[in-house]
Amino acid sequence: MKSRKGDASPMPQASRGRRDFLTQGAALVTGAASVGIAAGASAQGLAGQPWERVYGAGFTGYGQPSRFEQPVMRHIGRPYGDLAPGTGASLAPIETLEGIITPSGLHNIRSHSGTPDIDPKEHQLLLHGLVARPLKFSVEALSSYPMTTRIYFLECSGNSNRALAPQPAQVPAGAIHGNMACSEWTGVPLRVLLQEAGLRPEAKWLLAEGADSAHMSRSIPVEKALDDALIALYQNGERLRPEQGYPVRLLLPGWEGNMSVKWLRRLKATEEPTHTKDETSKYTDLQPGGRALQFTFEMGVKSVITKPSSTMKLPRSGTYEITGLAWSGAGRIRRVEVSTNGGATWNDAALTGEERPKALVRFRFPWEWSGKEAVLQSRATDEKGQVQPARKAWLAQYSPGNIYHNNSIASWSVGADGSVKNVYV
């Protein structure tokens, strides 16, 4: 962003840096003051804020949110601290977001060994094992296939495990339930590549492996690979973000996020699952008695109220909109009900996006708050007829130490003073 030499224009140019412009803007204001016109006021008394009285900022190559939106940040959890700063999760601040698409820069992240800095010219996807023709694909080659675009949610199966703490955490909704997000994904159906390689009939699983330094790997049933698995190259219209698997990731709609292997470098067709570390020692769900369910892939039907939610405060009694997100790994959301009295009675909420399977749905419900204590809940039902379970019913299915697949109903209490708290009901 250097100024062009010999540019004598009195107006700031697009090619000039922001600092140049600010300096010039200040000079203009100073000039105005010197002739008796105070900055932010008009000789004729016309209304106008200071930013209406100076020339605006020039163009930038890649836009950023307003500086006043700086507090809108992901909630970062690093269980190993500085020992492994890229191991853990960064949760979407769903309490501040609207609509159904998560901005790419606020998409939740779950990474096991940090974000690799991959040169797409050096990266390749290897497809081998029980195939007629082992093949490798450059990123350029993958980018030359006809593209398919879909909107899908992604949810870590550890999402909402903070809602299993002995005491309800008084943190924003996203810090509890934001290990999920929703994007528009574009790429090549995995089926196309499997057909090209000639998947053998005895192949029942695909080992998917990332090019991160953990070489995170999972076993994927062939049924899913042939159904709706996507080799994703783009997210929300641009190339995948590094944290989301740049330059190529697997995307398994509706299934636990860990299986949508990022930085995908290898797919190996096998007869049996490989029983990788992340499908044995992790991502297995302890049952009462201590045995664990393994290969629980589909994310359950779920919803959460994002506003009002934990740590917020209602400034007055009166009309509010209760809004939130609903989703199901089994398909479409058919219904979301809202309760304002801790589940005693339920009312249907209005839905946006319910035509899309395996995508976030926005729900809205008008609420007249009288100023008395209330407990807000939402309950989703999907097109398979599955209903989001109550907390106690969900807990009864598992060992108390299970941390995965918590899709139980979340509750926020509203105090007489308007303060909203996380509560267990």
Binding site: H128, P146, P189, P288, A292, G401
Partner: protein, 183 residues
């Protein structure tokens, strides 16, 4: 000729049927075939996944004693004395904890297959320099961690034949949910 043509037709019909019932349809038109052939040698350099059968385990071996040395040099700083953990995950202990509110899921208490220990150590450890251990070192440190858990004896040697035969304490602790249970 006739047979291969008929097979080609069967495969084409099969592929069309797959595409027709898939919930993510392909883009219209015949896709370009842009994958390039890859040699067995190149595949071998990438193929680091080891299933419970032990298929793909490399040549080489390691003893518990050798593993103790590897562990002290490359693992102890994070995983603690004798795998006790801190700052990183414990590798030992946790037997009897799985049904409690604070399960301790270690190689000894939880992991169902010893092959996964070799696989994960080789692909991801040490965290500062993965893919740096020799196959002998991975066998040796796997042996040491299994020994610390009381799963193999002090004189045991781990290699492509012995490692898959190790019976892990929690081998029967898992119930597969695939294909999914009926609602």
């Amino acid at each position: 000729m006739y047979t291969s043509e008929r097979n080609a037709i069967v495969i084409a019909i099969g592929a069309a049927a797959l595409a027709a019932c898939a919930s993510l349809p392909s883009a219209p038109g015949k896709p370009p075939a842009l994958g390039t052939a890859v040699s067995a040698e190149e595949i071998a350099r990438f193929d680091i996944s080891i299933p419970p059968s032990g298929a793909g385990l490399p040549a080489g071996s390691g003893t518990v004693k050798q593993g103790a040395q590897v562990y002290a040099a490359k693992c102890l700083a994070c995983h603690g004395e004798k795998g006790a953990g801190k700052p990183a995950d414990a590798l030992v202990g946790g037997i009897g904890s799985l049904a409690t509110p604070k399960p301790v899921r270690t190689v000894g208490s939880y992991w169902p297959y010893a092959t996964t220990l070799f696989d994960y150590t080789r692909r991801a450890m040490p965290i500062t320099n993965p893919l740096s251990l020799t196959d002998d070192e991975v066998y040796a440190v796997s042996a040491y961690v299994l020994f610390l858990n009381g799963i193999i004896g002090e004189d045991a040697v781990m290699n492509a034949q012995t490692l898959p035969r190790v019976k892990m304490p929690n081998r029967d602790g898992f119930i597969s949910d695939w294909p999914p249970r009926k609602l």
